[in-house]
């Protein structure tokens, strides 16, 4: 949203000179309840960052502030000029055909061709003329991805985009997102509650707690990452501990 950068309290969403995100002192209060308090966040150009945290810790709030969807967030926010959001629900307009959904809000000529190109990237070019209501959950979410891609975002904001998908579809969608990220290299902020998802996809996993980034885990594992990579298993245990899950899951399970 074109928020004027004059008043001190609303976030000044100025296009950053470089592709990347810088957040300083982000604060958001809902009815007296402080959700984000002096949160700082940096995302390098082309970096894939996952944001984890318990329910209600403010993950989505942070993402929404970056996406310019929260006019009441206070603090300094610098994001690239072009960003796109994929939500947990596909949020496609049921009254517009798939390709019209993809190009929603896109200016310029030959929208149809651009929509087709984006849909091809997610493997749905042949559904361009379908109504969204006829798509499966996984397909809808891929269209939502295409809708983000067509904007050639420098920052891609993913708000639990796989949360509503079944296990198999989710795996495929994760691979797709990884492939698209490697192809286009936007900065990515992925909000998720799935520790493994974060470790499979992200360069860095951040843990949100008490209104700010409480812990950082650098995931330095070559891609594609096998789930049983020892480093990944170690990080998983650490991250789960950070989330307050100290379950000795590996023991007593196979017995």
């Amino acid at each position: 949203m074109p928020t004027p950068a004059l008043s001190p309290s609303p976030p000044a969403r100025e296009p950053a000179a470089h592709d990347g995100v810088r957040v300083h002192g982000l604060r958001r209060v809902f009815d007296g309840r402080v959700v984000l308090d002096d949160a700082d966040l940096t995302i390098a150009p082309g970096e894939f960052v996952a944001l984890l945290g318990p329910s209600g810790s403010g993950k989505s709030t942070l993402l929404r502030a970056l996406g310019g969807l929260d006019p009441e967030a206070e603090g300094h926010i610098e994001v690239p000029g072009r960003s796109a959001v994929v939500f947990q629900e596909h949020r496609l307009l049921p009254w517009e055909r798939v390709w019209r959904n993809v190009t929603l809000g896109v200016r310029g000529g030959d929208l149809r061709a651009r929509a087709t190109a984006a849909l091809e990237e997610v493997g749905l070019a042949e559904r361009a003329d379908a109504w969204p209501g006829t798509l499966s959950g996984g397909e809808s979410q891929r269209v939502a991805l295409a809708r983000a891609l067509v904007r050639t975002p420098q920052l891609l904001l993913l708000d639990e985009p796989f949360g509503a998908l079944d296990a198999l579809t989710r795996l495929k969608a994760q691979h797709l997102v990884e492939a698209l990220w490697e192809e286009h290299r936007p900065s990515v902020l992925l909000v998720t509650h799935d520790v493994e998802e974060a470790l499979l996809l992200a360069d860095r996993a951040l843990l949100l707690g008490d209104g700010a980034i409480a812990a950082e885990f650098v995931v330095d594992i070559p891609r594609p990452r096998p789930l049983d990579h020892p480093e990944l298993v170690r990080l998983r245990t650490e991250l789960l501990a950070g989330l307050g899950v100290h379950a000795p899951a590996e023991h007593g399970r196979t017995a």
Partner: protein, 291 residues
């Protein structure tokens, strides 16, 4: 679930009973799927069957005298109708009535939509205009007929004004509530796609409110016909309402019934028209992939 190393082991040892337990949440199936021709025909017959039954009962009732001596049979009404049409009287009066309704609706419907849009899109406008509109809505507008004759005379103006008032309220309410009922998450998503106020209104809010707006349109048309009946009962010498008042003077119940049937047909026709519009405008609801 093959998403953790521990469980992959379990899955390898036994059939994967857990994975299919979570099925992909599919969107609700399309409201109506294209049906075979035979089923469609049956449906059409069913729709007509009720009407045919009413006609049969009517005919039987007059034959047996259940409905009293003064009630004409369907055949008598048919004959009277044919006579009226042949003499040109029917066409003349019908044209006048149609023009009255058209003139009233042509102003009333856009006005109701406009007020609903203004209130629905802008809170401050709603705050100002909602209370007076609600107050006027509660006033039975048909009771205004004598007042309108005093204000606007016995000519066409008072009739047009009366027909104009009625449809405003159902449209206002349905447009307003249609707009307020649009899923805010869709609005947010569209906004994140860079849509401005005008784009949001045109591509998200209005289409989202459209099903509800059609409900308002149906009600508005019904009220339009209803008002016509009242408007034509006094101070006029033309229109199908006059035809009926005139027939009453001469105890021509068959002509009165011709007019009653006309009202019914007009109502059905206008409903069909809205349905046709709906089918085109709300095609997405039926899950058609297009032809």
């Amino acid at each position: 679930m093959p998403s953790s190393p521990a469980e992959t082991l379990v899955v390898g040892a036994a059939p994967p009973v857990r994975a299919p337990a979570r099925t992909e949440p599919r969107p609700p199936p399309p409201a109506r799927t294209p049906r075979p021709a035979a089923v469609a025909l049956l449906r059409r017959l069913r729709r007509v069957s009720g009407l045919v039954a009413v006609l049969l009962l009517w005919w039987l009732g007059t034959e047996r005298g259940w409905l009293g001596a003064t009630t004409p049979s369907p055949a008598a009404v048919w004959d009277a109708g044919v006579d009226l049409i042949r003499s040109g009287e029917y066409g003349e009066h019908l044209a006048v009535s149609l023009e009255r309704v058209a003139r009233g609706l042509a102003i009333g419907i856009p006005l109701g939509v406009l007020l609903g849009l203004l209130a629905g899109l802008t809170r401050s406008v709603e705050d100002v205009i909602d209370a007076p509109i609600q107050a006027f809505r509660m006033l039975p507008h048909l009771a205004l007929a004598p007042v309108f004759i005093i204000w606007f005379g016995i000519g066409e103006t008072s009739k047009t004004m009366l027909i104009l008032i009625g449809p405003i309220f159902p449209l206002y309410i349905n447009v307003l509530h249609g707009i307020r009922g649009v899923d805010n998450r869709l609005v947010e998503a569209a906004r994140s796609c860079g849509l401005g106020r005008w784009g949001l209104t045109r591509r998200v809010i209005l289409p989202g409110a459209l099903p509800q707006i059609f409900v308002g349109l149906r009600q508005a048309l019904g009220i339009g016909w209803l008002t016509l009946v009242v408007a034509e009962q006094t101070a006029t010498t033309s229109g199908i309402g006059y035809l009926m008042t005139d027939a009453r003077e001469f105890l021509r119940t068959d002509v009165m019934f011709v007019v009653l049937v006309t009202y019914a047909l007009l109502g059905v026709l206008s409903d069909l028209l809205v349905r046709l519009l709906e089918r085109r405008a709300l095609a997405w609801r039926r899950g058609f992939t297009g032809t």
